[in-house]
């Protein structure tokens, strides 16, 4: 395998692994957060604005970790710096 193939294989595989594993934790965490918020809503419907606002802000915080993984995968697939480096080197020869 030459360098380009290694980079392509590594980028594609790691992009999939990144999103796959990286979304597991946030998914579990968001599920827990929503479940807890729902049970608090059922117990105290009067506090629904506060609970909903805090839930949204918290979900955004949790979700941002998954978004980081997604952005890293997107960079690896569509804007891979190593791939571009190899391409420019090959074009320069």
């Amino acid at each position: 395998m030459d360098n380009m193939t290694i980079i392509a294989v590594a980028s594609i595989a790691v992009a999939g692994i990144t999103t796959g594993f990286g979304t597991m934790g946030p998914a579990l965490a968001e599920g827990r957060a929503v479940a807890t918020a729902l049970s608090s809503l059922a117990q105290q419907p009067d506090a629904s604005p506060t609970i909903t606002r805090t839930l949204f802000v918290g979900l955004a915080m949790i979700e941002s970790t998954a978004i980081y993984c997604f952005v890293v995968s997107m960079i690896l697939i569509f804007a891979n710096p190593f791939w571009n480096h190899v391409i420019t080197q090959a074009a320069g020869k």
């Binding site: 949204f56 978004i67 997107m74």
Partner: protein, 254 residues
Amino acid sequence: MHLSPDQMIFWQYGVFKLNGTIVFTWALMVALALGSRLVTRRLSTELVRSRWQNLLEIIVTAIMKQVGEVGLSHPEKYLGFLGTLFLFVGAASLCIIIPGYQPPTASLSTTTSLALCVFVAVPLFGIEDQGVRGYLKSYVEPTVIMLPFNIISELSRTLALAVRLFGNMMSGAMIVGILLTITPFVFPIVMTTLGLLTGMVQAYIFSILAAVYIAAATRSRKANPEQAPALAPAPAAAPAPAADDHPTKEHAHG
């Protein structure tokens, strides 16, 4: 495939490129500014008022109420900054129903500049509220050991603000783009509808987080006047649970 509206080039002269981000940002800014100007030109305090005035009043009072609930004691002071953030991000994501439009917030440059605005505005509001010493003191609370962590959190939350908005907006546009190649007829419309919801939630979250950061920078050292003497000798005085808008800005001295 266009990863971001940065790659849509409308016009190019030498090194100057007029890409999609700039065009759509300015179009949004013109639309928002002209629209508000047209609506507020004929404001009425009577019972009979235009429907656009009603719309603006609903938006402004809703933003003010939300900002007030976060814990900022004078929401109208921060309304210009936070409301502009919300309206811009919200309008940028609502306009995806227009064909050929790509949200400028799907470009990392736009979201970075918005996050940098928050990054600059939070210390400014904090210094304006409690002075340079008072604001800088909040970095070494409760102990000096926390100083590097406070600075790191300041930087990392700016990065998080930028990347969160960018990731959400970019993923929405990209999912629609991918689905167009797989199931071209109905399903992208459903995903666009979901994108509208996500965009509004992201706009809400962006402005609420900015409000939370400003609230943390402005009111954290304010203690209640009657509790201030009792809290004064304690080294790690907890932040006041309810920030009243009392005139004296007493800080609990650590």
